[in-house]
Amino acid sequence: MMSSSAIGMGDQGQEERQRFEAEVRRIVAASAAGGVTLRLLGSLAFHAHCPRYGYLQAALGRAYTDLDFGGYVRQAKEVGGILTGLGYREDREVFVVTEGGRAIFEHPGNGLHVDVFYEKLDFCHVIPWQGRLELDSPTLPLAELLLEKMQIVEINEKDVIDTIMLLLEHPLGGGDAETINLDRIAALCAGDWGLWRTATMNLGKVRTLANGYPQLSAQDKAQTAAQVEAALARIEVEPKALAWRLRARVGDRVKWYKDVDEVV
């Protein structure tokens, strides 16, 4: 199913989009200057990593809503220092309640909202990034960006649009340099049947839904489908762990994902 949530969809003026993009550049620059590993995720990361196809976000009505980053919890104090230095105020309760998994910052001046996720994305499924943030900049590596979307059980149109952009822009392969690292994706899916179930389901949805966008050319649609096929094939051949095989036998009888409780 695809959620009907309209969050992240709607007309957004160029000026407003540029305001978000400029703020990202300001935070990325400040974190780099401070020696802090902070990587962008979410819609702005897809835009930043897709110079050729990033225009699709605006063309397909994909709007920016907030700024999301991934980091390491060992640098949480430094992250807080950088963002408060840029005028943000942290909601400390979130960091405490999530046991150091997440921090939320609001800027009283510009009204922007920053989410920082530490060590992993932990929504419907867990996408860890220990030792991975150094592989790309200013965003998460492309594999984690793709999984960020593919782990959402009730995937939204905005997530499908971001995924299509990523698949059109980047080749699939076994490394991370401007490549969607399928080895990484396949390994994570082979260790967690639930993630495999959701990710393969969503890849299929992306293939189907891409055909419905008149803004995409026939070539774009064909390329999206080919990328999805290749990703599914690579995930399929990855040797699966015993736990995966046992869990697969139970299948959908038992819920395979976590419900997402929004902090805010």
Binding site: L246, V250, V254, K255
Partner: protein, 270 residues
């Protein structure tokens, strides 16, 4: 010529139908004293195998009431490994070993002319490795080197359960460092049989261990058992008397050796 699978296998199949639930599978495993059942269709044809490890999946995934209910509804046919891995009865034992290791398996269904006739498991191969003692002169020659041990604060009901499950007539009580503190036997447990064990622990009923060194002669050991009227001696390392016991010598070890085909007790009478 080496042994074949036929020589080591358990002939016959312990089966269950595919539509029984996991709780029933657990009961059947317990009742039959096995770790897996062959799931067979109405025609008796094996469809798969459901093992104790498969049942772990039930516990693993039953963390919420909804999931527990879903898993309670699951059947052997839904959770089994299928199709069953098979091997011909004429195959060499080494091939069975290779297949088990390569496939990370615990058992193979044995077939003769395509028909399932038995099961060979890791346990069967392990049993084949066991060698009877070739000498019976010292304690070390015949003692049991694997021990059932527990700490002094083990509840009596848990000790009784461990003895039953492991088919052991005693438990050696050891300190955190492995030093033998005492022995609990079925005899010791008799005194609590008329009451509920409650919260009592093995430390309350254990008796001091009577020890012997591994180099002692079998004759010395038997002398000591008869002198103390006990069924077992704790074998300790004289170089490290505070360390973990080396083993236990029990009356069973003695008569098992007496029963062995090489034993003087089995020699033809003049």
């Amino acid at each position: 010529m080496g042994k074949s699978v036929r020589d080591l296998m358990h002939r016959g199949l312990i089966t269950c139908p595919p539509d029984i639930r996991l709780g029933q599978v657990a009961r059947r495993l317990t009742q039959a004293g096995v770790h897996a059942l062959v799931v067979a269709g109405p025609d008796g044809q094996p469809m798969g195998v459901i093992s104790d490890f498969d049942l772990l999946t039930g516990e693993w995934l039953s963390g919420t009431p909804e999931n527990l209910e879903a898993m309670r509804q699951m059947t052997a046919g839904e959770l089994m490994s299928s199709p069953p891995e098979t091997i011909e009865a004429d195959a060499p034992v080494a091939e069975a070993s290779r297949r088990l290791r390569a496939g990370n398996l615990h058992r193979l269904l044995v077939t003769e002319a395509g028909r399932a006739v038995g099961v060979i498991s890791i346990g069967d191969l392990v049993a084949n490795l066991a060698r009877p003692a070739t000498r019976r002169e010292t304690v070390a020659d015949v003692m049991s080197r694997a021990l059932v041990v527990c700490r002094a604060d083990m509840p009596l009901h848990a000790a009784a359960r461990a003895m039953s499950e492991r088919r052991s007539r005693s438990i050696v009580v050891v300190s955190a460092a492995g030093h033998p503190l005492g022995v609990v036997t079925g005899w010791d447990l008799l005194e609590v049989c008329e009451d509920d064990c409650g919260d009592r622990t093995v430390s309350e009923i254990m008796h001091p261990p009577i020890t012997i060194e591994p180099t002692a002669s079998l004759r010395e050991a038997i002398d000591r058992m008869i002198a103390h009227h006990i069924h077992r001696l704790v074998v300790v390392d004289l170089q490290d008397p505070d360390g973990m016991p080396l083993g236990v010598l029990s009356t069973a070890d003695i008569f098992v050796e007496m029963a062995g085909p090489e034993s003087v007790w089995q020699a033809a009478m003049n």
